[in-house]
Amino acid sequence: MQTNLTMVGDKWAVEIIGGPDEETLTKTFSGREQATNQIRLWGNGQSEMPILKSVKPKKVATVKK
């Protein structure tokens, strides 16, 4: 699990990146301190990490015979 903290407009966005088969989740916070505190809580297990959705497998085009 990887987190990317970025300022988006006047808010702080935390991207949560899981494995290649999981969708990236973004959570926004009003302040940097609030965001970094939440990252810390996720990191030390005091707050449960959000569950990432599985990436839906792409539909494979079928060739008509």
């Binding site: 990887q2 990317n4 903290l5 970025t6 990146i17 970094t36 810390r40 990191g43 030390n44 297990g45």
Partner: protein
């Protein structure tokens, strides 16, 4: 069985100045290596110590095989010391691979803030503008990798869970693109992706700060950084 190359080995280009030299070209990499056989001194390092409690936070090299930078803290919470190389001499660059490796043991795995790596010079390096560091923060024994390019502040998942007074070897490999592989005790643990590394020079740095009252020690056995030229 030892293989002997009595005339040496060379990796220089044909017709270059070092073509016939019987050793590998050391200029191909910018290398920092400190095994801490000598004490980090103020002429070479910026040392930022906090000693609110009894005792004095300091770095010494004790009598120990292998050479150690031993951090001893004063006795209050938030006492400790940071050392940063006096100049910012490493800039990570696209297209140039960089390796970083260190070996560290900390007195209190959970109740401490510590870091080892590269960061822009700052006497509070956990908040430095640019960071490329292994770190652990007070309240958790987890070590993670932090890449902050002053736009995006990225933390890896847990690379290692520290135990008190137990050495771990931590290493990071930047592939010259957007990926950082992270290793603990020479085993790949996790990979950071879509990373933009800091775009300006950084200094080698390390430090340990108490997260609770009571004097502690932390040992940094070595720090190695090498970047392709």
């Amino acid at each position: 069985m030892t293989t002997r190359f009595q005339n040496g080995i060379n990796n220089s280009a044909k017709n270059s100045a070092l073509e016939l030299m019987g050793q590998l070209d050391p200029t191909k990499y910018h290398t920092y290596w400190d095994d801490f056989d000598t004490t980090p001194i103020a002429a070479q390092w910026t040392l930022t110590a906090t000693s609110g409690g009894s005792g004095t936070s300091a770095i010494t090299v004790p009598d120990a095989d292998g050479g150690l930078a031993r951090i001893t803290t004063a006795a209050n919470e938030d006492d400790g010391i940071y050392a940063e190389w006096i100049s910012e001499t490493f800039k990570l660059e696209s297209g140039k691979k960089t390796w970083m490796k260190c070996r560290i043991s900390v007195g209190d795995a959970a109740q401490s803030d510590w870091l080892v790596g590269l960061h822009s010079t700052d006497t509070t390096p956990h908040d430095a503008t640019l960071r490329y560091i292994f770190e652990s923060v007070d309240g958790s024994a987890a070590v993670y990798f932090n890449n902050d390019n002053n736009t995006t502040d990225s933390d890896s998942g847990t690379v290692h869970t520290m135990e008190d007074d137990t050495f771990v070897t931590l290493a990071a490999y930047y592939d010259g693109g957007t990926t950082i592989q992270l290793f603990a005790d020479d085993v790949l643990v996790t990979t950071m992706t879509s990373i933009t590394v800091p775009a300006a020079e950084m200094a080698v740095g390390f430090g340990y700060i108490n997260g609770a009252a009571g004097a502690e020690t932390a040992d940094v056995d070595y720090i190695f950084v090498a970047k392709e030229r």
